[in-house]
């Protein structure tokens, strides 16, 4: 036996896409057969099943695992096959092209590093081929070749091939997609798959196999600025390990990390690993790592760690291109769960700008829904601020999915940051937090001593709805229970802290709310539960509460809305009280909410959920 050592230095994920009947499975079967890559068992088994069913053997059957597929002659779902060639291991994803094609094609293409796009020479460039090309581009697959199949059915004519190449290149050029190659083949007869065709001497380019070899491994994203989204925080033993996969850049022991959107900061103390000697001291893009920090800050899943000089964007709105796969249409105004990297947050569709027809890239305006398999340009608005990037700069933190009910129903790429009205205050909070001078006593120390965490209870509502009365009652109850609570009345700021403002300025919400928010921020840093009402802001309570939220972030805000009659509470209200108020019941509901949010320790034995810190 010859002991030739074959190395497998890398894996490459390839997806094969194309319309049903354009011959994807045949191409794949041919590729394996012509390179002697099939296990004996496989070929025999498929031949036996064909014989049993009285059918002629076809290469396509090699990868159609299910009998249903063989009966219908189509591939039902994305399948992975493995293929070794010249020291590289290819994972080939066969994406089906029938009516449910888009969902499965997208699932296949989303994990691919390169693609082969099949076009039937007899049919030419049809709608499906255009849709596939557009979606590959949207999914971020920039490396692909176009395989023009069934050349045998058009008499191997060069003019047919040239015509398809010209038409398709023009279409792709509209969104700047450039295929590495156009290859004329007959998968059925084996022309230009692994072996050069003898019938198409006019073609001197590479075969499909050569083209696979020429695809390069995705450029490492290690040279980009750091993006490390927190996946989970573990405390299985004495170590408090922050885990996640590095999306871009690199980290090393000693690095100063900033977590967005909470603006918390700490240095990396160690990089943790199991069964690696000596333990690593750094990590880079693609790696799933764990780090410990030099300070006990509480960061939660979904925050993005970066270096201070290259921060991600933070906003509650962005513009995006989205493809929709949901069973029911995407609707403007309806709530969805948004997932960007590891962050999960409720969102709604604020604007549907236009539906994009992938056939001719025409734009259709004025729709309030996006149907299954449509692509649209829209603006999403999130319940709380999210850290993200534009997809043109960072792939992983620049794309998202939407979850409708239980299923991932759509995906997209972020094209533009939408400035919201909290931008100035958020920048102020960021600058202030970065420069914050801490004492020796940590947030955790205070929480241990006090038996609760800091929070803001913010009571909104119109005049004479009982806001002040409830706030007082709540303060009394919390202090009686041994909590550290304080009623921050806006009136007490008015004559002192706000004394420098003119009468006119004091009548406007913006600066008053900013000052109020900064004072609340200081008080939460002392570990207090701050009870506040929007009384000083009159009917501008919605604007004021937004500002206060932005400035005290990430301390939890428990929003309580009071009204005499049924009315729509401001966004993100936690407790709604309408009609005549039973103040004891209202107090009890707010205490429950404080427990649920992990501010007050729950009953003994319950798992506390501490999800934030200051």
């Amino acid at each position: 036996m010859t002991m030739t050592k074959i190395k497998t230095p890398e894996n490459l994920n390839i997806v094969i896409v194309g319309h049903v009947d354009h011959g994807k499975s045949t191409l794949l079967g041919r590729l394996y057969a012509d390179t002697d890559s099939l296990p004996d068992g496989k070929l025999d088994k498929v031949r036996a099943i064909c014989k049993q069913q009285g059918k002629e053997f076809e290469y396509a059957f090699l990868f159609d695992a299910f009998l249903e597929e063989q009966e219908q002659g189509i591939t039902i779902d994305t399948a992975r096959t493995f293929f070794m060639w010249k020291g590289r291991q290819y994972i080939i994803i066969d994406a089906p092209g029938h009516k449910e094609f888009l969902k499965n094609m997208i699932s296949g293409a989303a994990r691919a590093e390169a693609a082969l796009l099949l076009i039937d020479a007899l049919e030419g460039v049809k709608e499906q081929s255009k849709k596939h090309g557009y979606l590959l581009s949207l999914l971020g697959v920039r490396q692909f070749a176009v395989v023009v199949n069934k050349m045998d059915l058009v008499g191997y004519r060069q003019d047919v091939f040239d015509g398809i190449e010209k038409e398709y290149r023009e279409f792709l050029g509209q969104f700047k997609a450039v295929p590495s190659q156009f290859i004329p083949v007959s998968a059925k007869l084996g022309d230009n798959i692994a072996n050069r065709s003898t019938t198409m001497s006019w073609y001197s380019g590479p075969t499909v196999l050569d083209t696979l070899g020429a695809f390069s491994k995705e450029a490492a994203r290690s040279e980009q600025p750091l993006r490390f989204s927190v996946q989970d925080v573990y405390k299985f033993d004495a170590r408090r390990i922050i885990t996640g996969r590095i999306a871009a850049g690199r980290v090393k022991v000693g690095d100063h990390l900033v977590f967005s959107p909470s603006n918390k900061r700490a240095n990396i103390r160690t990089v943790e690993a199991f069964n690696i000697e000596p333990p690593p001291t750094e990590g880079q893009a693609g790696q799933s790592i764990g780090v410990t920090l030099d300070e006990q800050i509480f960061v939660e899943r979904g925050e993005i760690a970066s270096h201070q000089e290259h921060l991600p964007s933070v906003s509650t709105a962005f513009r995006a291109n989205l493809f929709w796969l949901g069973k029911r249409p995407l609707e403007k105004g309806r709530k969805y769960l948004l997932r960007v990297a590891t962050k999960e947050v409720d969102c709604e569709v604020a604007v549907i700008h236009r539906i994009i027809d992938t056939m001719d890239l025409a734009q259709q305006q004025g729709s309030s829904t996006v149907n299954k398999n449509q692509v649209a340009e829209l603006t999403l608005r999130t319940k709380t601020p999210v850290a993200f990037d534009l997809s043109a700069s960072f792939e992983t933190t620049g794309r998202f999915v939407l979850v409708d009910e239980y299923d991932i129903a759509g995906g997209g790429i972020i094209t533009e940051l939408v400035h919201d009205d909290q931008e100035f205050l958020r920048d102020e909070a960021r600058r202030r937090d970065f420069a914050w001078v801490k004492g020796e006593v940590t947030v955790e120390d205070r929480a241990q001593q006090y038996g609760h965490r800091a929070a803001v209870v913010l009571i909104t509502g119109g005049r004479h709805t009982g806001k002040s009365f409830l706030a007082r009652k709540l303060e009394g109850r919390l202090v009686a229970d041994g909590r550290h609570a304080y009623l921050l009345d806006g009136e007490n700021l008015r004559r002192g802290l706000d004394a420098d403002l003119s009468e006119e300025e004091r009548g406007q919400t913006t600066e008053m709310a900013r000052r109020y928010g900064e004072v609340a921020r200081l008080l939460t840093d002392t570990g207090l539960i701050v009870l506040s009402t929007t009384n000083p802001f009159g009917l501008a309570y919605e604007e004021a509460s937004q500002a206060i939220r932005t400035l005290v972030h990430p301390a939890p805000v428990i929003a309580v809305h009071m009204s005499k009659t049924e009315e729509e509470p401001p966004p993100n209200t936690d407790v709604t009280l309408s009609g005549p108020t039973d103040f004891d019941a209202a107090t009890a509901r707010i205490l429950d909410e404080l427990k649920r949010r992990g501010v007050l320790a729950q009953a003994i034995g319950a798992k506390p959920i501490f999800q934030y810190s200051i």
């Binding site: 036996m1 002991m3 074959i6 497998t8 230095p9 890398e10 894996n11 296990p39 004996d40 068992g41 496989k42 088994k45 099943i49 990868f63 695992a65 299910f66 009998l67 249903e68 039902i76 779902d77 399948a79 992975r80 096959t81 493995f82 291991q89 994972i91 449910e100 969902k103 499965n104 997208i106 699932s107 989303a110 994990r111 996946q231 989970d232 573990y234 299985f236 033993d237 390990i241 885990t243 996969r245 690993a273 199991f274 069964n275 693609g286 790696q287 799933s288 764990g290 899943r301 796969l325 997932r339 992983t396 794309r399 999915v401 979850v403 009910e405 239980y406 299923d407 991932i408 995906g411």
Partner: protein, 265 residues
């Protein structure tokens, strides 16, 4: 080695997603090479800990050395081992002579379903690989099963980038497959790289045979092989043209397709 670390990073990410999203999570461990690599990856992901129970569906027909190995590792690695068995079917005398697919369905599929139902697991991690067998090639990393444990392969939810299906209606559960992209060679290369203890039934002990895939004693036959070390196995696999599961009787005809639709692992 680089390609093994890439596979490892992906599997670790999947395991951590599973742990984050499922309150009642378990991992299936058959003591074979794949699920043992999976167990090792869990120790990687959770820094030496395995924070969920390991389930073994015991058909009572396993090769005895497998049970010894199971109990030894469970002790040494402080594993929370949960063993399930379809006692009713065994009491009724179920064995492979009553039909291989029938026996697998009763003792493995139904044994697993009973275990999941009794313990209320909503997430189950399995070591199936896409290159093993045709139906497994079509799996998602996070694959939903309905109330009866059945798999609707015709209508699988989309799986985009590294976003997986982690929400599901009550009464259903999710099968999680972190090893989907690993090949048989990758498994052995990784066992060598990490020096993972494996059961020696996979090696030839001088008789010219070894097991390539492990299952129940009556339905698993060893292959002709002189591979005495992991290196020998890797070298052998580079040149083999025989299917990995050729020694597994239930794979004949359309056996696996029928089994897996009904919830077989």
């Amino acid at each position: 080695m680089q390609h093994l670390r890439q596979l490892e990073d992906q599997s670790v990410y999947i395991l951590r997603e599973a742990y984050k999203h499922f309150d009642n999570l378990a991992m299936l461990w058959s003591m074979g090479k794949d699920s043992t690599v999976l167990l090792w990856l869990a120790r990687k992901a959770f820094f030496g800990h395995v924070p969920f129970p390991l389930l073994h569906v015991d058909t009572s027909y396993k090769i005895p050395a497998m049970i010894e190995y199971r109990d030894r590792l469970a002790r040494e690695w402080r594993l929370n081992l949960v063993v399930g068995q379809n006692k009713q079917a065994l009491a009724a005398g179920m064995n492979h002579t009553m039909g291989r697919v029938e026996c697998c369905t009763a003792l493995k599929t139904n044994g697993l379903k009973q275990l999941l139902e009794n313990k209320g697991y909503t997430g189950v991690i399995l070591g199936v690989r896409a290159d093993e067998e045709g139906t497994r090639a079509k799996e998602r990393y996070f694959s939903p099963r309905d109330k009866h444990g059945d798999w609707d392969f015709r209508d699988q939810p989309p799986e985009l980038w590294d976003q997986y299906k982690t929400t599901f209606p009550p009464g259903t559960h999710i099968r999680i497959h972190p090893l989907l992209d690993w090949t048989e060679i990758n498994i052995w290369e990784y066992i060598k790289l990490e020096n993972i203890p494996f059961i020696d039934l996979y090696l030839d002990k001088g008789e010219g045979t070894r097991y390539r895939s492990l299952g129940c004693a009556p339905c698993t036959t060893p292959i002709k092989s002189t591979a005495k070390t992991v290196d020998d196995i890797i070298e052998e696999l580079r040149h083999t043209t025989t299917a990995e599961r050729s020694g597994r009787a239930q794979d004949e005809g359309r056996g696996m397709e029928l089994l897996r639709k009904d919830g077989y692992m």
